[in-house]
């Protein structure tokens, strides 16, 4: 019966992902892409803020897939984690792609200048 149960969860997850994908256009996101997001923050009076940065990590977990963005803002480097299928992300646009040889670009944390050069 355990196969049934794990299969059931997979089916439910897949259906939920398909439903979100059919309603909203979600481009392919990989580490090394520069993307621009329009995020609506419900806690902050539902303001829509634009976030522009590099994807340094992506975690595949069905509906709970997340990705990390590293951006340079007002002299400070900020990393944010976003769920890929969150309804609060109103728009996603890929600005550019970079060739990287890793799945997780955490090495960028140690090198401040690496971001600027690339």
């Amino acid at each position: 019966m355990f196969y049934l149960i794990s299969a059931l969860l997979q089916i439910i997850d897949r259906e939920a992902v398909e439903e979100v994908r059919s309603n909203r256009e979600i481009p392919e996101i990989k580490p090394g892409y520069d993307i621009q997001l329009k995020v609506e923050v419900p806690e902050n009076k539902r303001r829509i803020s634009t976030i522009k940065g590099t994807v340094i990590a992506k975690r595949n977990a069905g509906l709970q897939s997340t990705f990390r963005i590293r951006r340079h803002e007002a002299g400070v480097c900020i990393e944010s984690l976003f769920p890929l299928y969150s309804p609060n992300i109103k728009e996603m646009k890929v600005l550019g792609k970079r060739r990287v040889r890793k799945a997780k670009l955490y090495y960028l944390r140690d090198r401040m200048n690496a971001l600027k050069k690339q």
Binding site: M1, F2, L8, A16, P42, L63
Partner: protein, 321 residues
């Protein structure tokens, strides 16, 4: 309408026929004592009330009834399938546990006439006859009900009794209602006092010698001179029955008989849990299907849409300001 006493009346008529065959007239014929004794026993067994409307033949109809504030519906047995998360329409995150009502059928009806109280025994799942003990197989055969994996009795009020063999689905509940979920918790093994009883432990440094996670003192001195019973000590933790109360039902999937419920539930994935209407946050009586939801005959269960709880009209984030 399910004839409740069908099994009992069959055996009674059979006994009467056997008695007729064996017993000519005990007064006249010179039978041996053993056959007379046998006949007397048969007579005793057949000396039940002749009319079928008496003992045990209460007619329970599968019809929707009106619920009183004092009436109590059955619970249900479900399998814990796993956890996910959803975003509700306001963009808030809800942790969800998915519970599967696997083929719940009423396996036995307990009435005041026979047992002295009102209860329904519900069975969940399927099981092969070769995997069940002979008494269990006999129980299912006597009731005339398919073999179930898990049985559980739920006390109900008299107006909430269901006929034998009624199937209970996910539509027994309403999205948005509160339920109490009981389950056997996950096993944690032999655990220390800090995990098991939330003790504070000892100092991490400042010279504490080998007592960082220990119990400390266990009592006084020679008065009383003993350790009291029930003293919290390390031991086996987990695998206990616990009830989580006021669990909010977010979504009901009648096609697959799933309940999507907010938060955590005791037990591991694959284990059985028992769901009842909440005792403290009572659901709306006028809207609950009572005694249970009877599906109309022309309805195809595979085509039913999931029902989602209606959330508040006002934005909860804006309302805070």
């Amino acid at each position: 309408m399910q004839s409740f006493g069908a099994a009992a009346s069959v055996s009674r008529s059979l006994m009467r026929r056997v008695a007729q065959v064996f017993c000519t007239d005990p007064r006249s014929s010179p039978h041996s004592s053993s056959s007379l004794y046998f006949v007397a026993q048969l007579r005793k067994l057949c000396a039940m009330p002749e009319n079928d409307d008496a003992v045990g033949n209460r007619i329970i109809e599968a019809k929707p009834r009106i619920m009183n504030p004092s009436s109590k519906r059955t619970g249900v047995i479900a399998v814990k399938c796993g956890m996910t998360g959803v975003w509700d329409e306001w963009g808030a995150r809800i942790p969800i546990t998915i519970l599967w009502l696997d083929d719940n059928i009423v396996c036995q009806v307990k009435t005041p006439e026979k047992e002295g109280f009102c209860a329904l025994q519900v069975g969940c799942g399927q099981k092969k006859e070769k995997h069940l003990t002979v008494p269990e197989v006999g129980h299912f055969r006597a009731q005339g009900v398919p073999m179930k994996r898990k049985l559980r009795e739920f006390p109900v009020t008299e107006d909430a009794l269901l006929p034998l063999g009624t199937s209970i689905g996910a539509r027994h509940f309403l999205p948005g209602q509160y339920v109490d979920v009981t389950g056997i918790t996950k096993g944690k093994g032999f655990q220390g006092v800090m995990k098991r009883w939330n003790f504070k432990g000892g100092k991490a440094s400042h010279g504490a010698s080998k007592s960082h996670r220990s119990m400390g003192s266990t009592g006084q001195r020679d008065a009383p001179g003993k350790v009291f019973k029930g003293k919290k000590m390390p031991g086996h933790m987990g695998v206990e029955q616990r009830t989580v109360k006021n669990v909010w039902v977010y979504k009901i999937d009648p096609a697959r008989n799933l309940l999507w419920v907010k938060g955590q539930i005791p037990g591991a994935t694959g284990n059985f849990v028992f769901i009842k209407d909440s005792v403290f946050k009572k659901p709306d009586i006028s809207q609950l299907p009572f005694p249970t939801h009877f599906a109309p005959e022309d309805e195809d269960p595979a085509e039913l849409e999931p029902l989602v709880a209606i959330l508040s009209d006002t934005d909860p984030f804006m309302a805070a300001e």
